[in-house]
């Protein structure tokens, strides 16, 4: 759906190397600076145009957890006293590597979050502008 038109880009698609596709809220995946970079309209990556990111290094199970985490982070982004997300022990090391790869290792403060959101909105508006022209 996200490849249909960038104006619908409230969601993006993440694809694992074994072909699982996850459609996620765009704002939620911006927690990962790597994915954010891939989707940056200025970068001219094909991901930015199609809204579809393929991860050849991450399998479906791990990517599912990553996506779950993105939603979890998004849900709790401004709440205090957040319950920990459950991490399956057997996936722990792979997930750790994925987290490292996707740069999910830093805390995002409220201020930083606001800038992310601003970028996201600016991004949306720039896209719509681009379509109008």
């Amino acid at each position: 759906m996200s490849s249909d038109g960038p104006e619908l880009s409230k969601y993006v698609t993440l694809v694992s190397h074994d072909g699982y596709e996850f459609v996620v809220l765009r704002e939620a995946v911006l927690i990962s600076s790597v994915i954010k970079g891939m989707l940056d309209p200025k970068s001219q990556f094909s991901e930015a145009r199609s809204g579809r990111c393929v991860f050849e290094e991450i399998n479906g199970m791990v990517l599912e957890k990553v996506v779950e985490y993105c939603q979890y982070w998004y849900k709790y982004k401004e709440s205090e006293n957040v319950p920990d997300m459950d991490i399956p022990v057997e996936l722990c090391l792979e997930l750790l590597q994925a987290a490292d790869f996707l740069a999910l290792d830093r805390m995002i403060t409220a201020g930083e979050f606001d800038t992310i959101m601003q970028i996201a909105y600016a991004f949306n508006s720039s896209l719509s502008l681009g379509l109008n022209v």
Binding site: S79, V82, P83, I87
Partner: protein, 617 residues
């Protein structure tokens, strides 16, 4: 109203032997036979009631009635005079009246209310009746029917009451007890489960640790925590990047899980950094194993390395390992000779030497050796050392490449030795930290002013001789670039008899504080003026006035600065946009400050103690 009246009358119509007690009781309107008859009747009524109340006991009702009849028969045998029908009817009426009264009373009682709360679905009359029956339950030694299994059993003092108020037999009683215990346990388990992530205590502890954040933890933290909790399942950490491995090591040490087995996870042959934050469980052999398995080791950090003994050090000396930095904490089993041997053999490559808590075994002789054997040393830190004295400190002056120097000696040290160090290597120093230097005075500050131009971190604590003028001289027109870290903790005047007077302006006071903020305010990230209690309120107000801004300041420690009040703290929040945490322990004039969103104020002297606020902006 007492039944005694009536029975007294009836008793008079029979003749028989009278005991002295009977006579006495009779003279007091008490009839022993009447009491007995009443008691029997009560028991019979109780038996009848309990059986009629228990649906399961339905088929056994005849037996109970029979029993009641038998009781009555006995009754009649003994109290021959009470046999007239009218008297029996009257007695029955009275009994019922008494029972109703008792039930009314029960309804008012605490036990009833309590039980009613617990079992709100049952009818109130039934409940009262059950309690009443319980009170009238068969006495020990009698037979009764179990409320649950309806079997007949002998009542003992240990017989339990069943759910409907009647008694239950021994085996059913046991089952009941077990069920209740199980219920209690499961309730306890469910009870304290926190509804959010962490409990209040945990959150407060995280605020104090400075690890408190709004929002979810990052994925890596979650993974690392899971991994640390299940480290016994891990055989190999695989190809994780060093920062991640370091974080795992920290977390494991925090929970004291680092032992000979988990140590293996961190010993990869290709690593060149080993950080072990808690080596207390490691034996000498384990330390030797580190050097065997990691031949390319460059940087070694060991805390609580108690068993890092002479043997281990000698093994390290024999190996072809060229350590660039060694950080060792608590290794008080290494003798000074072995230290000197190590420095002589391996010192040439050494860039960092950090030694903490080694008791008496790293003294003046070892430090004296440093300039000749460790020419490349850039970082030297000796903390909590009981042997190092002025003589050793003076030798540090000859370390021509030193950039970072931290000392904390347990022996008394004088200004002169530190001044010598500053005069010699001051210009290149980037860190200068001396702790608990009570005898050091203004001359050191002047030397710092004169020589140092590259300092970014400065710490001088607990000096009792430095004066406000000295601090002002240091910071006014100092050629040094602005500091990023400054700690002047407890540089203050102490006099128990006249604590408020400080006519010679000993310690950091108004001028010094103003001068330091003037000099370093732009770049300062971390400021600690803990217990510099002679800084006046006006100075704080001036330094943190509306037109001043300290854009980099993140951590401010102003605990025990007596003059700090709500207004000052408010001004601080206004002047320091990037501030993360302010400590105000012991500032008794801080009462009710509005803390901006995302900032932490620690140590407010109220019941909350510390807090974070998210509403103000």
């Amino acid at each position: 109203m007492r039944p005694g009246h009536r029975s007294h009358n009836t008793r008079r119509s029979i003749s028989g032997p009278h005991s002295a007690l009977t006579n006495y009781l009779a003279s007091n309107n008490i009839s022993a036979a009447q009491i007995r008859a009443d008691a029997q009747a009560r028991r019979a009524a109780a038996a009848a009631d309990s059986s009629s109340n228990t649906p399961a006991a339905g088929e056994l009702q005849p037996v109970t009635e029979e029993q009641a009849e038998v009781d009555e028969d006995e009754d009649e045998d003994e109290v021959v005079a009470g046999t007239s029908a009218a008297a029996a009817a009257r007695r029955a009426r009275q009994k019922r009246k008494k029972r109703d009264e008792a039930i009314e009373k029960i309804k008012k009682s605490k036990a009833y209310k309590k039980r009613k709360r617990n079992a709100d679905d049952s009818d109130s009359d039934d409940l009262a009746l059950a309690l009443f029956n319980e009170k009238l339950a068969p006495l020990p030694g009698q037979m009764s029917n179990c409320e649950i299994c309806s079997k007949r059993f002998t009542v003992t003092t240990y017989s339990r009451a069943g759910p409907d108020g009647g008694l239950v037999c021994n085996s059913c009683g046991k089952d009941l007890t077990q069920d209740e215990d199980a219920n209690k346990k499961s309730k306890k388990k469910r009870g304290p489960a926190p509804k959010g992530g962490a409990g209040r205590r945990k959150i407060q502890s995280r605020i104090l640790d400075g690890t408190y954040t709004v929002g979810a933890k990052n994925l890596m933290t979650l993974c690392i925590e899971t991994l640390a909790n299940n480290i016994d399942l891990a055989d190999d950490l695989g190809d994780l990047p060093p920062p991640v491995i370091d974080r795992i090591a920290r977390l494991l040490s925090k929970t004291r899980l680092l032992d000979p087995r988990t140590l293996d996870l961190f010993l990869q042959p290709h690593h060149d950094i080993i950080n072990i934050y808690d080596a207390a469980k490691l034996k000498s052999d384990d330390f030797i194993k580190i050097f065997q398995l990691v031949p390319q080791l460059k940087k070694l950090k060991l805390r609580n390395a108690i068993q890092f003994t002479d043997t281990v050090m000698q093994y390290l000396i024999t190996r072809n390992i060229a350590l660039e930095s060694i950080y060792i904490h608590g290794a008080n089993l290494i003798g000074e000779d072995v230290w000197m041997e190590f420095l002589t053999k391996k010192g040439a490559h050494l860039k960092g030497l950090q030694i903490y808590y080694t008791d008496k075994h790293f003294g003046d002789k070892a430090v004296g050796l440093l300039p000749s054997v460790c020419p490349n040393l850039t970082r030297l830190k000796i903390c909590h050392n009981q042997e190092l004295s002025d003589q050793g400190i003076e030798c540090i002056a000859k370390l021509s490449n030193l950039e970072h120097l931290s000392l904390q000696c347990m022996k008394k040290t004088s200004s002169n030795s530190y001044i010598k160090v500053i005069e010699s290597i001051g210009p290149q120093l980037r860190t200068f930290s001396i702790k608990k230097v009570s005898d050091v005075d203004d001359r050191l500050l002047d030397a710092l002013h004169e020589k140092c131009t590259n300092l970014s971190k400065l710490r001088i604590t607990e000096s009792e001789f430095m004066t406000d003028a000295g601090f002002a001289r240091l910071f006014r027109g100092w050629k040094n670039k602005p500091l990023t870290f400054l700690d002047l903790q407890k540089c203050r005047y102490v006099d128990a008899s006249r604590p408020r007077d400080n006519e010679h302006k000993v310690g950091l006071c108004s001028e010094g504080f103003e001068a330091l903020m003037e000099h370093s305010g732009d770049k300062l990230q971390n400021l600690n003026v803990h217990a510099c209690r002679h800084i006046p309120r006006e100075t704080f107000e001036k330094v943190f006035s509306g037109d001043k801004s300290y854009p980099k300041l993140r951590h401010l420690e102003i605990s025990f600065c007596e003059e700090v009040n709500d207004f000052v703290v408010g001004s601080i929040f206004r002047s320091c946009p990037d501030l993360k945490e302010v400590n105000v322990f012991g500032c008794m004039k801080v009462k009710d400050v509005r803390v901006p969103r995302g900032k932490i104020l620690v140590g407010v002297p109220n019941a909350l103690g510390m807090r974070i606020e998210g509403v103000d902006d």
